[in-house]
C-alpha cells in the first residue's frame, strides 16, 4: 500500500521554479532515500510534503488523505484544516538543525507534544519518552537541557521527539549534515534500527554509503526533477543517466573505496 503518493509536484518562488514535476510513491515499511546536489530541490520537496511550504501545483496524498483538493487559477487548493491536521499527525519530520526547544529539558521536549496536542496523560507520555530515550541510549539525559548535549545526542532526542507522536511515517531532512563524521554514525545507527523495525521513512541525505545500505529505493534529484530512481544496487552500481554517473563518481572515488 502506498503511504505517500506525490503526483506532479511543482513549487515556484515567484518566477523561479525549484521543483518542476515530481511524482513518486512510498510504500508501507519502505525506506526511500533522496540524494542529489545542493539546490536540487530535495529539502524543498520534503518541506512541501510536510506543509512547511505551500506547493504551487500537483497533489500529495499521505496515508490515504489528500492534502490538495484541486487547482484554482494555477494554484493548488489545500484540503480543510481538519484534514491537514490529520495528515500532520500521521507524519514526523527530523530537521537538519534538530530544532529542539532550548528552554525545555530533554524529557519535556519529547512529552510536550503528546501531552498538549494528543492529550495523552503526563505519566503515560513520560513513560513512553523514557522508553524512547532508552532506545536512543540517552536514558540518563532525560533531565538535561539540549545545550548540554552533543549534536549527535540532540539529534537522537529530536528523533525520539518525532517518534513520541507515533507517526505512520518519518521524514529526515539531512539529519547528519550538521554533525561531524563520528557523530554521524550514531544517527545512522538509529535510522538503521528504525528501518529494521519497518518504519516507513523518506531520508534526504548526502551520506551515499548510508543511503546505499539502508534504503529499499533511491531517488536522485537534480535541478528540481527526479533524474533517476531505482534500487540502491542499480542506482549506485550501474547508474543509467549521465548526470547520475557524474554525481556519483565523486562519491565512488571517496566513499566506496574502503568498502571493497
Amino acid at each position: 500500500m502506498a503511504m505517500l503518493e506525490v503526483r506532479n509536484l511543482r513549487k515556484c518562488y515567484d518566477d523561479l521554479e525549484v521543483i518542476s514535476d515530481i511524482s513518486f510513491d512510498v510504500n508501507e515499511g519502505e525506506v526511500l532515500s533522496v540524494i542529489g546536489p545542493s539546490g536540487s530541490g530535495k529539502s524543498t520537496m520534503l518541506r512541501c510534503i510536510n506543509q512547511l511550504e505551500r506547493i504551487t501545483s500537483g497533489s500529495v496524498c499521505v496515508c490515504g488523505e489528500n492534502m490538495i483538493t484541486g487547482e484554482k487559477n494555477g494554484e493548488a487548493v489545500y484540503a480543510s484544516a481538519d484534514v491537514l491536521k490529520k495528515i500532520r499527525r500521521n507524519v514526523g519530520l527530523v530537521f537538519q538543525n534538530f530544532n529542539l526547544f532550548p528552554h525545555f529539558s530533554v524529557l519535556r521536549n519529547i512529552t510536550e507534544a503528546p501531552v498538549s496536542v494528543l492529550k495523552i496523560s503526563k505519566e503515560q507520555a513520560e513513560a513512553k519518552a523514557m522508553e524512547l530515550l532508552g532506545k536512543m541510549g540517552l536514558a540518563d539525559k532525560a533531565k538535561s537541557y539540549p545545550c548540554e548535549l552533543s549534536g549527535g545526542q540532540q539529534q537522537r532526542v529530536s528523533i525520539a521527539r518525532a517518534l513520541a507522536l507515533s507517526p505512520q511515517m518519518l521524514f529526515f531532512d539531512e539529519p547528519t549534515s550538521a554533525l561531524d563524521p563520528e557523530l554521524t554514525g550514531e544517527i545512522l545507527a538509529v535510522i538503521k534500527e528504525l528501518a529494521a523495525e519497518k518504519m516507513t521513512m523518506v531520508i534526504v541525505t548526502h551520506e551515499m554509503a548510508f543511503a546505499r545500505d539502508v534504503s529499499d529505493r533511491v531517488i536522485f534529484m537534480d535541478g528540481g526533477v527526479i533524474v533517476e530512481e531505482g534500487v540502491p544496487s542499480e542506482l549506485f552500481g550501474n547508474p543509467k543517466n549521465e548526470r547520475t554517473k557524474q554525481f556519483l563518481k565523486r562519491y565512488s572515488e571517496n566513499t566506496f573505496k574502503g568498502d571493497k
Partner: protein, 215 residues
C-alpha cells in the same frame, strides 16, 4: 525642618510615584506586545499606522506627551473639563512606554530561530500553544536585559508627572526645597529613586539568573 518631618511627606509622594510606575508597567507591557504583533502584521496600512505611532512616541519628549494628553481634551476638542491628572499621566506613560516595549519585543520575537516555529508546527502545536509554550519563554529571556533598562528609566521618568501638577515624589521634594531654602529634600528624593532602582536591578539580575539554565 528635620528628617522625621520630611520623610513622611516624601514617602507620600513616593507612593504616588510607585503607583505611576506600577500602573504604567501593567498597561504598557501587554500593549507593547499587541503593538509589536501589529508591527509584524502582513497588512501594510496597519504597519504604517503603527510605525507612525512608534515614531511619534519615541520622537517627541514624554513631558510634552503628558501635557498633550492633559490639555488636548479641553483646548483642542472643546471638552468641558480636563481629564483627571493622575490618569492623564498613566495614559501618557503607558502609550509612550508601550512603543519602546513593542520594539524590544519585536527584536525578541525575531531573535527566536525560524526552526523553532517549524518544529512547533510539525509537532502539531496550535498558534496559542506555540506562542505561550515556545515563543514567549524564549522572548522573555532575550528581552529581559533591555526591559530592565526601560524599567529603571521609568522609575526616574515618573518625576515628569509634576508637569501637570501631580504630587509625586519629585514635585513634593521641590516644594519642600523652595519653602525650606534647602537642597536636602531634593537630595533625599534622589536617595529614594536610587534605592528603589537598586531593588529593581537586583530583581532583574535574579530573573536573568533564573533563566540562565539554558543557552
Amino acid at each position: 525642618m528635620d528628617l522625621t518631618k520630611l520623610l513622611p511627606i516624601l514617602a507620600e509622594g513616593f507612593l504616588v510615584s510607585i503607583k505611576i510606575f506600577a500602573l504604567t508597567l501593567l498597561f504598557s507591557i501587554p500593549l507593547g506586545f499587541v503593538v509589536s504583533a501589529l508591527k509584524m502584521c502582513k497588512i501594510p496600512p496597519v504597519r504604517w499606522i503603527i510605525n507612525a505611532y512608534i515614531l511619534i512616541m519615541r520622537g517627541t519628549p514624554l513631558i510634552l506627551q503628558i501635557m498633550f494628553i492633559y490639555f488636548a481634551p479641553t483646548m483642542l476638542f472643546k471638552a468641558d473639563a480636563p481629564p483627571d491628572r493622575f490618569w492623564a499621566v498613566i495614559v501618557a506613560f503607558s502609550i509612550n512606554y508601550a512603543a519602546y516595549f513593542a520594539e524590544i519585543f519585536r527584536g525578541g520575537i525575531q531573535a527566536v530561530p525560524k526552526g523553532q516555529f517549524e518544529a512547533a508546527q510539525i509537532l502539531g502545536f496550535n498558534k496559542m500553544q506555540t506562542f505561550f509554550k515556545i515563543t514567549l519563554p524564549q522572548v522573555i529571556k532575550t528581552v529581559l536585559p533591555s526591559i530592565g533598562n526601560e524599567v529603571i528609566t521609568l522609575v526616574k521618568d515618573t518625576s515628569l508627572a509634576q508637569v501637570i501638577a501631580v504630587s509625586e515624589l519629585f514635585a513634593l521634594a521641590k516644594k519642600q526645597a523652595s519653602t525650606q531654602f534647602s537642597v536636602m529634600p531634593l537630595f533625599v528624593a534622589g536617595v529614594f529613586y536610587f534605592v528603589f532602582n537598586w531593588l529593581v536591578t537586583l530583581l532583574f539580575d535574579l530573573g536573568e539568573k533564573k533563566l540562565s539554565y539554558y543557552k
